[in-house]
């Protein structure tokens, strides 16, 4: 009697386990370093997740506010054990944990954002945000009256330094007398400190505030003082409608769809990709009405040139703060030089230490 029950149960189990595999959705997991509701970095990635979630046969899930290090390894391990097909991890510190998990689960595809390591089933990807920052620099350089731009920055790492230099080059292209003052907060999301940093820049005469952190604190400071601001990550105009000019933004959705398609077609290759505006991963948000039409026109023309590949950002001669030539005249900095950028160009006031 009992043996028969066991037999029936086994059959049932077989049917149940076989049934979902026949029409199985592609399971995609996302690991975020901060809460998604922050209008910042993770928010932008989550917009990408929602983009692919609408596709037929794709189910997504996410875990937010996962600290880098051992905790993230546990989260990714959990997803891989549940037979996720594709896992995106979107912070630099997830790189090594992901590599470890990737080796244990060869059938799962892993994608890491902003790192540099790959494996047979793990690729990495990032965007050339500096292109959009150059454009936002053109806007800032055109709008300033004091010729002082303030830049509240997170950590002195190449990604941020590159962005500040590109912003400065953009501003100098339309306004040779402009200077960019930098304050480091050593935070990615701390509204109080980041607002205070912006206020300190306003006190030394800055009349356009740009930022490379995820909180809208600096936007608040600019609006309270009645000057202009440039957002980051996503359109931040809702936080400071009277001061927000534009924002360099991330747009991950179309790229995430490409990865999903490649995994489904079995054509995924573990590459390291660094796409720019030509791929639509980075963009400039629509400019506010406060930006004059001729400035908007010039910026959009430059955007066109960058997108088509005609215009490059880091074209020599480029000198660092000490006057040393870093990119010779007529040459363009290669990706190696960009990825390791650790100096400020002339026109930036601040230190990279």
């Amino acid at each position: 009697m009992s043996r028969r029950i066991v037999g029936v149960l086994c059959c049932l189990l077989l049917v149940l386990s076989a049934a979902p595999t026949m029409a199985k959705d592609l399971q995609v997991g996302f690991v975020y370093v901060s809460p998604i509701g922050d209008a910042g970095w993770s928010y932008a990635h989550d917009q990408g997740r929602l983009y692919i979630d609408k596709l037929d046969g794709v189910t997504t899930s996410y875990v937010e506010a996962v600290p880098e290090g051992p905790d993230s390894e546990r989260v990714m391990l959990n997803m891989a054990r549940k037979n996720y097909d594709l896992i995106f991890a979107t912070s630099f510190g997830y790189m090594d944990p992901m590599l470890k998990v990737a080796k244990k689960f060869p059938k799962t595809t892993f994608m890491h954002c902003s790192g540099y390591k790959t494996a047979d089933n793990m690729g990495n990807y990032f965007g050339r945000m500096y292109q959009a920052r150059y454009l936002s620099g053109m806007v800032a350089g055109s709008m300033t009256k004091s010729n002082i731009l303030g830049y509240a920055a997170a950590f002195p790492i190449p990604e941020v330094i590159r962005g500040i230099n590109a912003f400065t080059l953009g501003a100098q292209a339309v306004n040779p007398d402009v200077q960019v003052r930098v304050v480091w907060t050593k935070t990615w999301y701390d509204p109080a400190t980041e607002k205070e940093a912006a206020k300190s820049l306003l006190d030394v005469g800055a009349d356009v505030i740009a930022q490379h952190q995820d909180s809208p604190g600096p936007q608040e400071a600019a609006q309270e003082k009645g000057v202009y601001s440039i957002g980051y990550n996503s359109d931040m105009s809702s936080f400071a409608p009277k001061s927000h000019l534009c924002a360099p933004v991330w747009n991950w959705g179309p790229y995430y769809k490409e990865v999903v398609d490649a995994v489904r077609a079995g054509t995924f290759k573990p590459e390291a990709v660094w796409f720019g505006m030509e791929h639509g991963i980075v963009d400039l948000s629509p400019m506010s009405d406060m930006v004059p039409a001729d400035v908007q026109k010039a910026v959009l023309a430059k955007k066109e040139a960058i997108t088509s590949g005609q215009a490059k950002i880091f074209v020599g001669p480029i000198k660092d703060q000490a006057g040393k030539e870093r990119v010779p005249a007529g040459q363009t900095a290669d990706d190696g030089a960009l990825l390791g950028m650790d100096y400020f160009i002339q026109g930036v006031i601040g230190t990279t230490e």
């Binding site: 809460p35 930098v182 400190t193 607002k195 006190d203 030394v204 800055a206 006031i349 230190t351």
Partner: protein, 306 residues
Amino acid sequence: MNAELIIPLLAAAIQSGTPILYATLGEILTEKAGVLNLGVEGMMITGALAAFVTAQVTGHPALAFLMAGLVGAVVGGIHALVCLWFLGNQVVSGLALTIFGLGLADYLGTPLIGQTAPGFDKLALPLVHGIPVLGPIVFQQDILVYTAIIMVPLVWFFLEKCRWGLNLRAVGEHPEAAAAAGINVLRYRWIGILGGGCLAGFGGAYLSLAYTHLWTSNLTGGRGWIAVALVIFAFWRPGRALLGAYLFGGVMAFQLRLQAVGTHLPSSLLLMLPYFLTVLVLVFSSWKSRQTDAPAALGVNFEPND
């Protein structure tokens, strides 16, 4: 540095010192009653969250501020319950309160991240705001800065001149003697803890209603701990707490401005300043410890004889 930079710096010092001032005054009140409460950070952050939510729901910042005080007192009440009722270890209970408060605010507050709430804007006081130098520094702040300043003489008056304050201090100095004199020791300790929690909640509310109008997890960012250290620096005196809180706020604002001016010091060194000052303050205070007004029965539980 010229006056154009120094005046905004001092104004910023007062602003970033205000949340610390509220919390420090609260902890002075608690410790004067003989209870050590290391849960300031936890009470601050729950107060900050309560204020943020109330402001969002009702649209009344003043109501939100009071709500923060209420919630801070309720969270402080847990400490009172553990230490006064169950005679638990005050250090352990306080630490637990900090961890609990941070965790609770993180859990409840995560969906609110990135949202804004109505808060207090700058309110220039009539007549006095025009005074050169002093006007822009002190009298063009938001209303919570003024109430914090008013709290200082109030707490001082309560502790030094008021009969209840005298009883509260007696309870902190020698609870047995106070009990023998007919003072209800536990009642005054409840008052000290709840009052301290209320003020810590106000401090948290300042962060989410005036300093920024945004919410994030860990909005307090260790300011509660600075308040605990400042109590020692202030020798348990409200007036010195004001000085210490503004000094701390000043150092926080100063290091950012040093960078903005374009100094070539590494930013990591400048960011260390507030914490370096904390250590310095503690060394300095313990060195001069003989002159302090530390309550003699601080941290010692009292068991009433029934």
